[in-house]
Amino acid sequence: MKRLRLGQKVWLAIGAAVVVTLAFSFGLLNYFYRTVYMKEVERTLIAEGTSLARDYRGGAIAREYRRQIEWYDEKSTATILLIDNPRELSACFPFPVHYDALVSGRDRETLLAGKPVVKTGYEKRFGRRVMAVAVPLLDDKRLMGAIYLYMPLADVQAATKQAAAAFWPLAAVFAAALLVVGRRMVRQLVEPLQAMERAAERMAEGRYEAGIPVRSDDEIGRLAKAFNQMADAIAKEDEQKREFLANVSHELRTPLSYMKGYSEALLAGFAKTKEEEKAYLRLIHRETERMERLVGDLLDLARLEGQSVPLERAPVAFAQVIEDVIAMYEPIAAQKRIKLSCDLDYDVIVNGDADRLEQVVRNLLDNAIRYTPEGGAVTVRLSRLSEAEGELVIEDTGKGIPKDQLPLLGQRFFRVDRARTRKEGGTGLGLAIVKQIVALHGGAIQFDSDLGRGTTVSVRLPLVREGEETYVQDKGTDGVSSI
């Protein structure tokens, strides 16, 4: 069996609801007519009969009284008979006279008790279904006659038919209106879903533009909006992935080209002297190191992004870490005649991974020294911003970065000056790694620069508070004796 689509299901549900509602309404209408209206007709007949019977004065039925009843019969909508034939009143009831009397033996008992009799159903005498009421004419204990009033049920039910005649056209209009509105609702509900289905299929084929129209602000509208955002994000991610792959291949190809070229030259015997040969080999060696660094950084970044190696957190005296790195870079700075100064707050304790924090400082300092020309200055400052936050600022007097490129800093393989950086030996991944480590520590990084006047990098990190420090000490597994 063919499976129904969502639209068809909703459509069917609306149709079924319409049919059930109409059927129920019609049933209710009929019920009210049967109970309320029929009861009302019955009440009217009894009231008329009782009123006519009140004029009976006892004794034999007078001619005048009979004429009165006949006159009323002509005026009334009901048919009214005056029965005084004992046979019609089942006077011979104990004897089997086989006569289908208008008043049965049992009815006679009721009439003798002074109560009216109500009958609804087929009456053989009239050959149709009737609602009949018999009211007794009693002279003491004698049943002298009965006023018999009846209405064909067809007349009574004509009112129901009239109501039905008005009901069905109205019901049809109602149903049509409901179906039109329902159709629109179904379309509004289903169209975005169908668009999403098509978009998802396109995405599976590698086309990431979604463009689902957002027509409403309900769940469906919000879902469409979220779907569009998701598609954009995937497209962007895909773009970055492509760019990353292109960058990686490019970065690997450059040293490989060097290595291939120089090694071929060596093999072809282009090096005329031993010195020249050595120079070639040094170049090959330098490019090998660069590749090693590149691969190391890529691996590092991949680990950080995938969080495959979790941070080994412990309270870290950040100033100490910075000092160690500065000590490491002092010879290089001296070589470039760069003035390397620092201003460190030794009370800043960060709950972090000491090695990774050192990597942050090293990469930032490396960049600062690398891009600061000879005779420049690099300043490192560590300060406490508040009880909960500390800030590391590394300021250089380098050539600076154009403002429009500041947001791109930290992207993988982004370089402000590609040619020069490669020459300087950078992999283009340092800042990406820094950004990732800072993010993992719950901190933030900010770049500020004026072209030609230098760059300032600020790293804000959450600090260990008094109470937490103790807690970390208690829970710590490795040595924290330095704190």
Partner: protein
């Protein structure tokens, strides 16, 4: 062993007493009573014939339709189309006597004047059954489908059977046990009186269809000819002949007419509500008023109502039992 036998005997006793019909308050032989057979209430009411005081009421609780007294006035018989036999009771003791297993369908009963036989009209076998006073069936004579009126002449030699449905009356020679003559009567004929001196059989009835009977039909006893009709509206169903004339009860008009032997209607009285039965005794007429559950006592000479006595529900038939000293 002995104890077990005692228990078994006791058990049998309870079983038998449970099956037996209950006995009713006795009606002394010396009392003259009017017996009302109240078919709606399924009771039998015994009223003192003089003052109407209630002597006894028997709750029969069976759908009987009529009854008869034995010629000696000691035994009451009850019958009905749906009863499986004829119920018999001894009035003096109130005890039920052995039931006569006639089977269902009995619609009328009459004793022979000498008290030796009973005649039963059987609508099941379409017969008149002649039964001895011991309950043994002596003869079964084929008649119409509904022999509801049985009239016996004074000598007990002729039985007149007026059929309710077949529009025929039959004359039975009791001694020879055969139908000797039949003649046409109106449909739903009921009630009648045999007037031997005049050689007439008066027949009443309900009338058929929507036409109600308004006449008494008088037939010749000799040949069954319709001699004349006497106007007696509406539905003459019971007759009593006394020295003062023939009294005719019409249930459709709640009227008793006194008709002279010549057939001339003398006077009438309006009585009761839908009365079906009338009996005469001691210069009085007793009339059972079915719808008002009472008995009207009328002076036979003046036709003036004397008293109204309460009966059970729906008195359909009256019987008079003269007391014996």
């Amino acid at each position: 062993m002995k104890r077990a036998s005692v228990w078994m005997l006791l058990g049998c006793f309870f079983l038998l007493s449970g099956c037996a019909h209950p006995s009713f308050p006795p009606v002394a032989d010396s009392l003259s009573v009017v017996i009302s057979l109240d078919v709606k209430g399924e009771t039998v009411t015994f009223l003192n014939a003089k003052h109407g005081g209630k002597v006894a009421r028997w709750n029969i609780n069976e759908p009987f339709q009529g009854g008869a007294l034995s010629a000696d006035g000691r035994t009451l018989l009850l019958y009905g189309r749906d009863l499986d036999g004829v119920y018999r009771y001894d009035l003096a003791t109130g005890k039920p006597l052995a039931q006569w297993k006639t089977g269902s369908g009995i619609v009328s009963a009459a004793p022979s004047p000498d008290g030796r036989t009973w005649f039963f009209g059987d609508s099941e076998h379409h017969a008149v059954r002649v039964v001895s006073r011991d309950g043994e069936e002596i003869a079964r004579l084929s008649v119409g489908r509904s022999p509801m009126t049985l009239l016996v002449n004074r000598a007990g030699t002729r039985l007149y059977v007026i059929d309710f449905q077949d529009e025929r009356a039959r004359v039975i020679d009791v001694d020879r046990r055969r139908v000797i003559r039949s003649f046409a009567v109106p449909k739903f004929a009921l009630g009648g009186v045999v007037r031997e001196k005049q050689g007439e059989l008066w027949v009443g009835g309900h009338g058929s269809g929507s036409r109600v009977e308004t006449n008494i039909h008088v037939y010749s006893l000799q040949d069954g000819r319709l001699l004349r009709t006497i106007a007696a509206p509406v539905m003459p169903v019971d007759f009593v002949e006394t020295d003062r004339g023939v009294f005719v009860l019409c249930h459709g008009s709640n009227t008793v007419y006194r008709v002279l032997p010549s057939g001339k209607r003398l006077d009438s009285v309006s009585v009761g509500a839908n009365p079906f039965a009338m009996e005469a005794a001691g210069g009085r007429l007793y009339i059972a008023s079915y719808d008002s559950d009472e008995m009207i006592v009328v002076d036979e000479a003046t036709l003036r109502p004397l008293a109204r006595w309460k009966t059970g529900d729906g008195p359909l038939q009256l019987l008079i039992r003269e007391g014996r000293t």
